[in-house]
Symmetry: C2
Subunit: 162 residues, 2 copies
DNA sequence: GTCCCTATACTCGGATAGCAAGTGTCCGAGTATAGGCGG
DNA sequence: CCGCCTATACTCGGACACTTGCTATCCGAGTATAGGGAC
């Protein structure tokens, strides 16, 4: 089981977008440049974030992406579901109803015990992810990202937005 | 993000194997028949369970698979890791160290805050899975599986083991 | 000097190839059994 | 009648195609801006 590579990019992009001055947007090409990833592919993830209502886009000159909501209102779970898909990782194909031991459909319990256990675990996973927001990530970065990197990033942003 | 289809099969197989009389094995073909899945592909999952030390196999006539440990000592997590791979779903590619804001490697904290949050969530997921064992699954089934299905399954097992 | 218009350059969005991993299958290596043969 | 030996049938294990979905890319649709011209 592996998560799409684009999730990592999308989360990083959101933390960058959270630092934009209100009303301004940052083009996908700039975000790709900042993170050193293929611009054309990153565009795809940003489109999915846009479709999910996490970011808004504006076209044309001086256009780009910006957060659609407050950083505190965007959870890690929101981003993961937007980019990686919302359907659960475990899919029950109801094989318990096949083979020589099968009986009438109406006799089975609504959910298989194995699927229930799997979904309980996924629920715990989602709960942890929903407890983390872009705002809290940025808060953690303050004590985590090298001060020089912060400075260089801010300078770059200044340059690009001009 | 999706889990391998084989995980579901493997878990079901383990619950069946737990019902075998001590010392006897059940061939992959019989397990496939019981669950109504492709025999040749199920064999692959069983090989992985065998490699992980969850089941043991014996070749030749009257051979087959049986649980290597007590059902209470086989967790759902064991099976998932064996079949679906043990590496974490989220892989951090350290993109924070790329682009215009990069600084010397030694200045960065050992783990990226985003990766830490992701792995915390995965840890919660694994914790839930490790709390469920084949034994507890079987216990739950007692109240969950139609009595007629249990009876037919037991009869089929009797027939096959003869 | 001010307003308007047009051309331009820049942006996103969806449609389009390439590739890796999961899915599905097959045949060869190995072993316990069953039957036959000799004692 | 008993024990041994061989041939057999059945099992797992790894090597081999195929398909799906992720990865990566490109070109067309749309828009704000900048510059020039008219008033």
């Amino acid at each position: 089981m592996k998560m799409s590579e684009g999730v990592e990019w999308a989360v990083h992009c959101c933390t960058v977008l959270a630092h934009l001055p209100a009303g301004l947007g940052l083009p996908a090409a700039r975000l790709a440049e900042f993170h050193g990833v293929p611009p054309t592919y990153l565009a795809k993830q940003l489109q999915q974030l846009s479709a999910a209502g996490i970011v808004t886009s504006s076209r044309g000159r001086r256009g780009g992406y910006r957060l659609a909501r407050s950083p505190a209102d965007v959870s890690l779970l929101d981003i993961v579901l937007a980019v990686d898909g919302a359907e659960p990782a475990f899919r029950c194909s109801e094989i318990r109803r096949r083979g020589p031991s099968q009986v009438e459909d109406r006799l089975y319990s609504p959910v298989c015990g194995i699927a229930a256990a799997m979904w309980r675990a996924e629920s715990a996973w989602r709960k942890e992810l929903s407890a983390v927001t872009v705002a809290s990530l940025i808060g953690g970065m303050a004590a985590d990202v090298p001060i020089d990197a912060v400075r260089k990033g801010a300078a770059w942003l200044q340059e690009v937005l001009r």
